[in-house]
Amino acid sequence: MNRQAVRLIVSRSCFALALGSTVTSAQDAPPTLSMGAHAIGLLTRATSTPEGRTLTEAYLTQPIVSADGRVAWFQAMGMLNLEGFTLRRGELDVGEWGEGYVDRRHPHAYVHELMVGAATPLAPVAASLFAGRGFVPFGSDDPMSRPFVSYPVDHHLSQILERLAVVSAVRARILLIEAAAFDGDEPLDPSTPQLARRFGDSWSVRATLVRSLASLGDAELSASYANVKSPEYREGQGMDQRKAHASFRVDANGRFSRYALIEVARTTDVDHGRPLYTFNAALAEGALCHGGTGLAVRLERSDRPEEERLLDLFRAARPATDVSILGITQWTTLSAAVALPPRSLLSAHAAPYVELARIRVDRTTAALFDPVRFYGSNLMWRTSVGLRFGIGHDHQREGRYGVAAAAPPSSTNSPPHAHDMSSPSCFR
């Protein structure tokens, strides 16, 4: 997207904000400020890691401090992610990849999210405009706000985050349209800021139909597309990406809280306008909670690019020095998780959980990368046990801002209403 397109997004959002102001007066709600802190103590064991080794490791993962403040139409939200301190070498997670890490999940940026903006009241037509560093309207929610601690393989196919972004949203009854302009370069490491001059070289749009259905709960059907310039080459000269995603999500609270997500994603690497490699993903996950006890299941089949490993076999060269790859592998993972009731003290809580995953990797071509030679087997198991710690406000759903974060209307004639829309409480 060029600068003209950025101006278009901003101008349309301002128009929508003005439109909202003509139909509804400013909210009278008092200013609010909420804060929270979360972390997960994790012991994980994985078989068949690079060179066939079985590894057992322990660390503090997803340590975050978050805050959310609202005054009338204005809202600010921030999340500090401290994985740069606790997960410098990455979280052991065979199949995971991105940002130079392979078979380990990379640590996220310290400034995971810092967005400010305004949203009109939730009238029949509402709009919002947010800017800062955060999530791009593309794909599904950040895995950190979903039931599993372990990230899915499709993380870099189904989410775009930690970008300098201007995100606008317009909502008319059950239809939600979001658009964003952002910088294509993915984070270099937890602390290095993005190149401001690259802001606006990438764009995304997402359309969502939202509806509260009595039988299923809050339901969403969404489709999104993103044009990302040179995510891996910071200076902007590397391969671009064309990303598409579609999903169906339901979420219901009550005696049995329920959550389910089905998503498909496709990313195509593009060089000089020529499509080179295509990576597909399909994922289904669900969770059921009752009385603090929960069960979650995830089934995923996702493609992964294989790149030259470094002396540390959990790292890959970034940027690649040409447009070649060592092959595309297909990862099929079935995971199950059990969350047990939390123990609370004052406003803090600690909840134990167990995750078990069966992972299979297959070659899709006879290209160089041979998983059986590299891992010693194409079948892996990962077992994790841990404790979720939390204090203050719950994990909010991550990846949507302003009117896009409101709950759906219960009928086509009723307006949407404020709601945190987070995942089942037993997995927070």
Binding site: G100, L188, D189, T192, E232, Y233, R234, E235, G236, Q237, G238, D271, H272, R274, L276, Y277, L288, H290, T293, G294, L295, V297, L299, E308, R309, L310, L311, L313, A317, R318, P319, T321, D322, V323, S324, I325, L326, G327, I328, Q330, T332, L334, A336, V338, L340, L356, R358, R360, V361, D362, R363, T364, T365, A366, A367, L368, D370, R373, F374, N378
Partner: protein, 416 residues
């Protein structure tokens, strides 16, 4: 639902997963045995012999006298930190020794000095360096020194060596590396006058529009630099008449080749056409290493060094080129062609005059198609069985030595 019930469901779910696997079965990597055992194949460039390396991916080859040196790349069952030393005096190359370079994961390039005294090896990726060996005993090279500087840290992709005014230099193509102190790609020139104490005498960052440098070619005081999307630059380093030196090169001219991705260069000295042509290898995408590749050979008319221009090309459907070696006495260019094996081209004489039927127009540029002109005169390892992925070639005395990422080292009979 109680916790106990939930836990009881877990084994059932995991058992169900066992029936969900359906990956594509991959063809095992080949050995260098040809169909029918000892057949020499049907290619014009017949197989004389081969030496297998299965534990590592083989990269570049350098041959001198009766010894060949092949480097290794990435990780297969072991790191690409080994230089294999082959005795090639007999039909079958015999692995006689190897050298492990510490702290390296890829040794992408290897070269022998024109007097045969030195062997140099590039170590790529982090902690990049140039390792210099004494070849007094060619069977057992002895490390003399290792140059590792902040400018080579990102990884040395290629190391070419050659003389300017009788003095020996190494030209290093250094990778970009995200997050490094100097993340950009660079060209580094090293004075090898005292190989035990190599001196870095020149560094130039590659423009971000390139954004890589992959290879260089030094001859007669001119340095040809392959700058990927920025094409080819020609530098005066002592032979261009513009006052350039290895420590202070002067850019004479440049040209953007069709399609970009300029990877390597060979400046031809031909008895018929003189020093008129340079050949550029395009290492394009998509390439899944081991099975596919894309990229043409581009022919530049460099008779005016300040205004080089592209005049011809050679294309192989379904494959892309990599490194070259030229038998200049016979006017034959041998090109590594990854999954298509090795191709031999007649490059003698005029390459830019052709019939309209042999021309291809790209935008406003009209080029001759060497394939349509019948310039291809031989193929090697092109039958697809066994699968090959040829990285480099070297012509020595009627023999083509081809390094194959999948299998190791091949000896082929050169085109007669």
């Amino acid at each position: 639902m109680t916790t106990a019930r939930l836990l009881r469901l877990l084994p059932l779910l995991l058992a169900a997963a066992c029936h969900l696997d359906g990956g594509t079965a991959a063809t095992p990597h080949a050995t260098c045995a040809l169909p029918g055992g000892s057949s020499l194949g049907t290619d014009a460039m017949a197989v004389i012999g081969c030496g297998i390396i299965d534990s590592r991916y083989t990269a570049e080859v350098a041959v001198r006298d009766s010894f060949a040196y092949t480097t290794t790349w990435g990780f297969r069952s072991a790191l690409g930190n080994m230089v294999a030393i082959w005795n090639v005096a007999t039909a079958e190359p015999v692995l006689v020794d190897s050298v492990i370079v510490s702290g390296a994961s890829t040794l992408g390039d290897v070269a022998v000095s024109d007097d045969g005294a030195l062997l140099v090896v590039a170590t790529e990726r982090s902690n990049g360096s140039l390792v210099i060996f004494d070849r007094s005993d060619p069977r057992h090279p002895r490390q003399l020194s290792r140059l590792a500087t902040p400018e080579t840290f990102n990884g040395v992709h290629t190391a070419e060596i050659g003389r300017v005014g009788g003095h020996l230099y190494a030209i290093l193509a250094v990778d970009p590396l995200a997050g490094a102190p100097t993340p950009e790609s660079k060209i580094v020139i090293v004075d090898l006058g005292d190989p035990a104490s190599p001196r870095q005498i020149f560094v130039k960052s590659v423009p971000s529009t390139a954004p890589f440098v992959h290879d260089t070619f030094l001859r007669d005081g001119l340095l040809f630099v392959a700058l990927w999307n920025a094409g080819i630059e020609i530098w005066d380093v002592g032979g261009g008449g513009k006052g350039g030196t290895p420590a202070a090169p002067v850019v004479l001219g440049s040209v953007a080749t069709v399609g970009g991705d300029a990877h390597n260069v060979w400046w031809l000295h031909d008895p018929a056409s003189g020093s008129r042509y340079a050949f550029v290898g395009e290492e394009s995408g998509p390439a899944q290493l081991g099975v596919s590749s894309v990229g043409d050979i581009h022919v530049l008319d460099v008779s005016d060094l300040t205004h080089p221009r592209e005049v011809a090309f050679y294309h192989v459907p379904g494959a892309g080129t990599h490194n070259f070696s030229v038998d200049e006495t016979s006017g034959i260019l041998y090109a590594a062609y990854y999954n298509a094996g090795v191709r031999a081209l007649n490059v003698r004489g005029d390459l830019e005059t052709c019939t309209p039927a042999q021309q291809v127009t790209t935008g406003s540029l009209v080029r001759c198609d060497l394939g349509a002109m019948g310039r291809e005169i031989g193929r090697g390892l092109s039958q697809g069985t066994p699968p090959v992925y040829v990285w480099g070639v070297q012509y020595v005395g009627g023999i083509i030595y081809a390094s194959d990422m999948l299998n190791g080292l091949w000896k082929l009979r050169a085109v007669q």
